[in-house]
């Protein structure tokens, strides 16, 4: 007993276990189009890690590789110490996956779906029914055990998906766009639950998202654009890298205005999708000069602390386009 706790405390101080995910220059192509090129990253145990990017940025391909559905065409990745390509079954035992599209059988009850899942993971009998009860209780689904899944609301189905993914007590939970189809309140609940899981059970959480608020709540995020990793850091650090404040100007002729700003005020600005952006510390001090000098040409002006969207624009030079209904169909 005492030797175990001693070992535990040593492990806590220096976590000698292999990283949750270790990826080395992953690459994947669909014909001529590179979906991922040279993507490397390390995710620590117990981290909540998010891949942020627009649709088509490479998130889905990366998710498919990490979930063992697709093999990387170049590079390699290890999850919890097991190589994804050669030791796939060992990875799958320790991995829980929540898909963007429902993976439940609508014709079966909630409990039947979980039992089916448990059997696939080699669970049976008493331990399986205990695990089902536990999973249902922790997600507040105990009264729904006998309901046919297709009769449940979207939010409840989402919770059953999570209960299913956690049934076999995975060490790493991988989620693809977890907040798609959830209203803001349900989104917040979901995200709080993930934080709780990490806190109390040490589960590593890896998710993909195109919601900036969801990315904000991650410990670290990696920004994917055009199949490349353009940044990887805690959200706060990324935002402070933008350089102070952000001014966004709407103008009828942004290019002309940009040139004038350079000539007359020596102000560097960037035209992004018809808006003019100025990034600089203490940007509020120049607002007066702008309005006095170019009041006729500026239609509106907004001032703000940098958001992750600003980070994205800063790094890629184009806007973070949010597809209004990305979940509709593949």
């Amino acid at each position: 007993m005492s030797s175990t706790s001693a070992a535990d405390s040593i492990a806590a101080r220096t976590d000698v276990r292999p990283a949750a995910v270790e990826a080395q220059s992953l690459g994947f192509r669909y014909g001529d189009r590179a979906a991922l090129s040279d993507v490397s990253f390390t995710i620590g145990r117990g981290e909540i890690f998010g891949f942020l990017g627009p649709n088509g940025g490479g998130k889905t391909t990366l998710f498919r590789i990490l979930s063992t559905l697709a093999r990387p065409q170049s590079g390699s990745a290890a999850m919890l110490g097991h190589d994804l390509a050669s030791d796939t079954i060992a990875v799958r035992r320790k991995l829980g996956v929540v898909f963007q599209h429902p993976s439940l059988d609508g014709k079966l009850t909630v409990a039947e779906n979980l039992a089916h899942h448990g059997h696939l993971y080699g669970m049976r009998g008493g331990p399986l029914s205990d695990a089902i009860t536990r999973a249902l209780n922790r997600l507040g689904l105990a009264s729904r055990a006998g309901d046919i899944v297709e009769t449940l609301s979207g939010g409840l189905q989402r919770r059953v998906e999570l209960a299913k993914a956690l049934l076999h007590q995975p060490e790493l939970l991988l989620l693809d766009e977890p907040s798609t189809g959830l209203d803001p309140a349900a989104r917040r609940d979901f995200s709080n639950y993930l934080a709780h899981l990490r806190e109390h059970e040490g589960v590593t959480v890896v998710l993909t998202t195109h919601y900036l608020e969801e990315a904000e709540r991650c410990d670290r995020i990696a920004i994917l654009d055009g199949g490349r990793l353009v940044a990887m850091a805690p959200p706060g650090e990324l935002k402070s890298s933008v350089g102070g404040d952000v001014l966004v100007l709407h103008a009828s002729a942004p290019d002309v205005l940009a040139r004038k700003l350079m000539q007359r005020l020596k102000l560097k600005s960037q035209v992004v999708d018809g808006t003019l952006r100025i990034e600089r510390p203490r940007a509020h001090e120049i607002v007066r000069d702008l309005v006095d000098g170019f009041g006729d040409e500026i239609e509106s002006l907004s001032f703000g602390k940098p958001t992750l969207e600003d980070v994205f624009v800063h790094l890629t030079g184009h806007r973070f386009v949010i597809d209004p209904e990305p979940a509709a169909k593949k």
């Binding site: 979930s67 559905l69 079954i89 996956v97 429902p102 993976s103 059988d105 696939l120 080699g122």
Partner: protein, 260 residues
């Protein structure tokens, strides 16, 4: 080994549970061949007498085992459509990230489809006395075993296609193109003996012909004298078994290579 049985077993169980909960599937799969047999068998009995048919047999009797295979065929098609839907709707993704080999997944699917087909085949077998076919226990046992083998082969062919095709429409098109002709040319409808030579050879090269023959022999076990022209039971059954195993091996190979 135990875990493979558990995994394939749970996939098998799900196919059955889904089927039972969709009443239209149950009704459709039984009624369609029944109507087919009653109308065609009765209508053709009087006027249609294929050459090469054994003496003392009417067409409804000849056609009866053909309809059994049609029942198996319809159920196999329905069962494998659920695989196309599972892929499209995302259920299969959850199965494929579990620590399960794809061969086990295909085994569960194939056994599920086989069981459903077999249950309906047995229900249809109960109608044999109405076709003037008298079954003893041995005939029922041999017929049931042959139905299981044929159903397994047909479900496996369905799975080969289901694991490659994205849409249910595409699946129907391919099924009609492959499975219905295989059935038509298996001796279900008319015997190979007496058909034009090219057709006779096509039928002899059709693997389902042998399952069909073995089933027919099992069904008329009590009266072997009327079947001197047919392939003997043992070689026919052996070819049917080899065919079923080959189709399963092909389905599992296709599944292992499929992207989901």
């Amino acid at each position: 080994m135990a875990s493979i049985a558990l995994q394939a077993g749970t996939l098998w169980w799900r196919e059955i549970a889904r089927f039972v909960r969709q009443r239209s599937r149950v009704t459709g799969a039984i009624l369609q061949p029944l109507v087919f047999w009653l109308l065609l068998g009765a209508g053709l009995k009087a006027s249609f007498r294929p050459s090469g048919m054994p003496e003392g047999m009417n067409y409804a009797q000849y056609f009866y085992p053909g309809v059994i295979v049609l029942v198996l065929l319809f159920t196999a098609i329905f069962a494998t459509i659920s695989t196309v839907e599972d892929r499209r709707e995302g259920f299969l993704q959850g199965v494929l990230v579990a620590p399960v080999s794809r061969t086990t997944v295909v085994l569960g699917q194939a056994l599920g489809g086989t069981t459903l087909a077999l249950i309906q085949g047995i229900i249809f077998l109960l109608l044999a006395p109405f076709a003037g076919i008298h079954l003893d226990l041995a005939a029922i046992a041999v017929t049931t075993a042959m139905m299981a083998i044929i159903a397994f082969a047909l479900t496996s062919i369905g799975l080969v296609i289901a694991w490659r095709i994205e849409s249910t429409q595409g699946f129907h098109a391919i099924m009609n193109l492959i499975l219905i002709p295989i059935w038509l040319l298996s001796g279900a409808f008319f015997p190979a003996e007496g058909a034009p030579v090219w057709l006779e050879w096509t039928m002899k090269l059709n693997p389902l012909t042998y399952g069909m023959t073995a089933l027919r022999r099992g069904l008329y076990l009590a009266e072997p004298s009327s079947f001197c022209a047919y392939t003997h039971f043992k070689p026919a059954a052996a070819i049917a078994i080899v065919f079923a195993i080959a189709m399963f091996a092909l389905a599992s190979r296709v599944a292992r290579r499929a992207a989901v």
